[in-house]
């Protein structure tokens, strides 16, 4: 397909326009209940952003990392301290700097990836998860010597205007997510992303082609941690509205891993699909429990069932479609196109030719 505007094709621009109209115009006009913003849309955007971070390191660069929540915690607490101690930075400045602080941790704990891979790397990244949470927990300075354990997040003020209603916070998350998603797509398509994928597919071959493993891997870890850090800051300030290290425990890391894998490794839209699924499925299951069985099933049983289903899905996807839901969506679109185009062999030919 020919690029229309800069390097983007017509399809890209249409996709962007549809997403923007949907998220900026349609959702705010039709969804009025606060519940949707505070419990679904805002966490969805934050977690999708963190999942993009996980995608960069795992889906694109092929490094098995399991510490997204640790970097999120680093970002969230960096944000809290920056707003508290360097108020001149403003919200946007603090958000960027807290992302950079998380990126520094990413570089530090990504270094083992130069030597090891697979499960070995997973253990090394687990160290970051436990270390960051411990550090925040044990040094009172990070929590401003608050003894209650839960700190209330400061209000979001951008250029003197407060953003405190759910709708306003939704727009903050939306703006940040949109910018970072576009950036991620650009990186994935450009030479940066090509290097990542070359390393993923065969690191030795990539190195012999002149791709620097050191640079590529460290870069992937840094950018991934930056995304997780920003996502963590938004997660704490827009969704939780409080800061506690426990919110960023290993379970959240696993959740993000699941979003990444079920959504589809190596895709950006997979991050959004996966995050939506993992967030919405428990809501759906609870609704079924309450409305169909009228609370006859215990809440703990429902959450156990949810866990079993996530695990089963993981196994099923690994066996039948390791590329996840994004690939399913792609297949669905493809088959729809085939059905729509005139008929049979002629249709197949025309789609093949178009490619």
């Amino acid at each position: 397909m020919k690029p229309v505007f800069m390097t983007y094709t017509k399809k890209d621009l249409i996709n962007l326009a549809v997403c923007m109209v949907l998220s900026v115009l349609i959702i705010p006009t039709f969804i009025k209940t606060e519940y949707w913003y505070t419990s679904i849309l805002i966490p969805w955007l934050c977690l999708a952003l963190a999942t993009i971070g996980q995608q960069i390191v795992m889906g694109y660069t092929g490094q098995l990392a399991l510490g997204a929540a640790g970097f999120m915690a680093a970002g969230a607490f960096a944000m809290f301290n920056l707003i508290l101690r360097v108020p001149d930075l403003g919200f946007v400045g603090s958000l960027i700097v807290s992302g950079l602080i998380a990126a520094a941790f990413g570089i530090l704990f990504g270094l083992p990836s130069l030597k090891v891979r697979g499960i070995y790397l997973m253990v090394a990244t687990l160290a970051s998860q436990f270390f960051i949470i411990w550090m925040i927990d044990k040094f009172g300075w990070f929590k401003n010597y608050d003894s209650s354990g839960i700190i209330t997040a400061q209000d979001i003020i951008i250029f003197g205007k407060p953003f405190t209603t759910p709708l306003a916070m939704y727009f903050v998350c939306l703006a940040v997510t949109t910018i970072l998603t576009l950036l991620a797509m650009n990186m994935a398509r450009g030479s940066t992303g090509r290097n990542w994928m070359a390393v993923r597919d065969m690191d030795i071959a990539a190195e012999s082609m002149g791709v620097s493993l050191l640079r590529t891997k460290v870069q992937a870890f840094a950018i991934s941690a930056f995304y997780c850090g920003v996502a963590g800051a938004l997660f704490a300030f827009c969704y939780l509205k409080s800061l506690e290290p426990v919110a960023f425990d290993i379970k959240l890391s696993f959740k993000i891993l699941f979003m990444c894998i079920l959504g589809g490794l190596g895709t950006i839209n997979g991050a959004f699909i996966g995050a939506a699924f993992i967030l919405l499925f428990p809501v759906l299951l609870n609704a079924i429990g309450n409305n169909v069985f009228h609370g006859a099933i215990d809440a703990t049983i429902i959450s156990s069932i949810e866990q079993v289903i996530f695990g089963l899905l993981m196994i099923i996807f690994m066996i039948y479609e390791p590329l996840g839901m994004a690939k399913l969506w792609e297949n669905l679109k493809q088959s729809m196109k085939l059905k729509l185009s005139s008929s049979g062999i002629k249709g197949v030919k025309s789609t093949v030719l178009k490619k």
């Binding site: 092929g62 098995l64 083992p112 030597k115 090891v116 697979g118 499960i119 070995y120 997973m122 253990v123 090394a124 687990l126 160290a127 436990f130 270390f131 411990w134 927990d137 044990k138 040094f139 030795i204 071959a205 290993i250 696993f254 891993l257 894998i261 703990t300 049983i301 959450s303 156990s304 069932i305 949810e306 866990q307 079993v308 289903i309 996530f310 695990g311 089963l312 899905l313 993981m314 196994i315 690994m318 066996i319 390791p322």
Partner: protein, 301 residues
């Protein structure tokens, strides 16, 4: 003199606690040795098996030995299902794919265990107290828990047993052949299916024993899954495919984390044993990625 005695006590306590990690690590090693598969669900298997054991004993009043046999049988069934439904379809998939599938398997087992037996913490009384043995306390002036000693003994027996099995029996030879090259092994008539079933069942029983030891100490609860994560640094230090490595790795982790916690921990507000093993593992990875006893990792281009 008193300080030395205190150090000895910390060291011995750490070493014995380390054998508990070894027991969990042993399950990982068994499966890795026979199929080069990293079974991330080993921790969930520990939780699942011991919760089932507790359930049989406490909810149905089944006697100890029978409950143990039932739980072990349950783990064989789990092994069978895993082999049929997860591993066989993924026979030709990459290592990372199988690893992710076992993460999924872990979720399934955790969920099933909680759905079947509830989420509350259960007490498990093995009849062995978790308090210092008076005889040792009197004669050697060391305070060492009876449970720690039992765990050490059980670990030693299991490791010797498994070592002999791998080294001297026909089954062990088959296991090693499959680990080396599954395709070649099956082409000379080694029944791959049976070997896999055997290994997963053995790992299940090892998980049950490990779970009983941990359960007696900390209560049978979900936190066991997180504890089992600590077996990962043990494996990295000992090497993924070495049974003696699992025990040595466990001892090192146990001793180092206790010593660090007691002597360095107070300067940082304590609780450094949560991450110290992982950081130790990173240093090992940088200098000796294959672990102390593992086979050197060779990747062909």
């Amino acid at each position: 003199m008193n300080e030395l005695l205190f150090f000895m006590e910390v060291l011995v306590g750490g070493l014995l606690a380390g054998t508990m990690y070894s027991l969990v690590a042993l399950g990982f090693v068994l499966i890795f040795k026979a199929s080069a598969t990293f079974n991330f669900s080993q921790g969930a298997m520990v939780f699942f098996s011991v919760l089932a054991f507790c359930g049989f004993m406490q909810d149905f009043n089944i006697p100890f030995v029978l409950a143990f046999i039932l739980a072990a049988f349950l783990m064989v069934v789990v092994g069978l299902c895993t082999e049929r439904l997860v591993l066989r379809p993924l026979m030709n998939a990459s290592e990372d794919t199988v690893l992710m599938a076992t993460i999924g398997l872990g979720y399934v087992l955790e969920g099933l265990a909680q759905a079947a037996w509830g989420v509350e913490v259960r007490r498990l009384d093995l009849g062995i107290g978790d308090f210092p043995v008076p005889w040792i306390a009197d004669n050697l002036k060391l305070f060492i828990s009876a449970l720690d000693i039992t765990a050490g003994l059980v670990a030693a027996i299991m490791i010797i047993g498994l070592f002999l099995l791998f080294k001297y029996t026909k089954i062990g030879l088959g296991l090693r052949a499959v680990a080396d090259d599954a395709g070649a092994a099956s082409s000379i008539g080694i029944p791959l299916k049976h070997i896999m079933l055997l290994v997963w069942s053995a790992a299940g029983v090892v998980a049950l024993v490990a779970g009983m030891m941990w359960g007696a100490r900390a209560g049978v609860q979900f936190a066991l899954v997180d504890l089992a994560l600590k077996a990962l640094p043990v494996l990295i230090i000992g090497g993924f495919s070495s049974i003696p490595g699992a025990i040595i790795g466990g001892l090192i982790i146990g001793a180092v984390e206790k010593i660090l916690e007691v002597y360095i921990g107070p300067f940082f507000g304590g609780a450094i044993e949560g991450w110290a093993p992982y950081v130790l593992a990173i240093f090992f990875l940088l200098y000796r990625p294959e672990g102390l006893f593992g086979e050197k990792i060779i990747r062909r281009v």
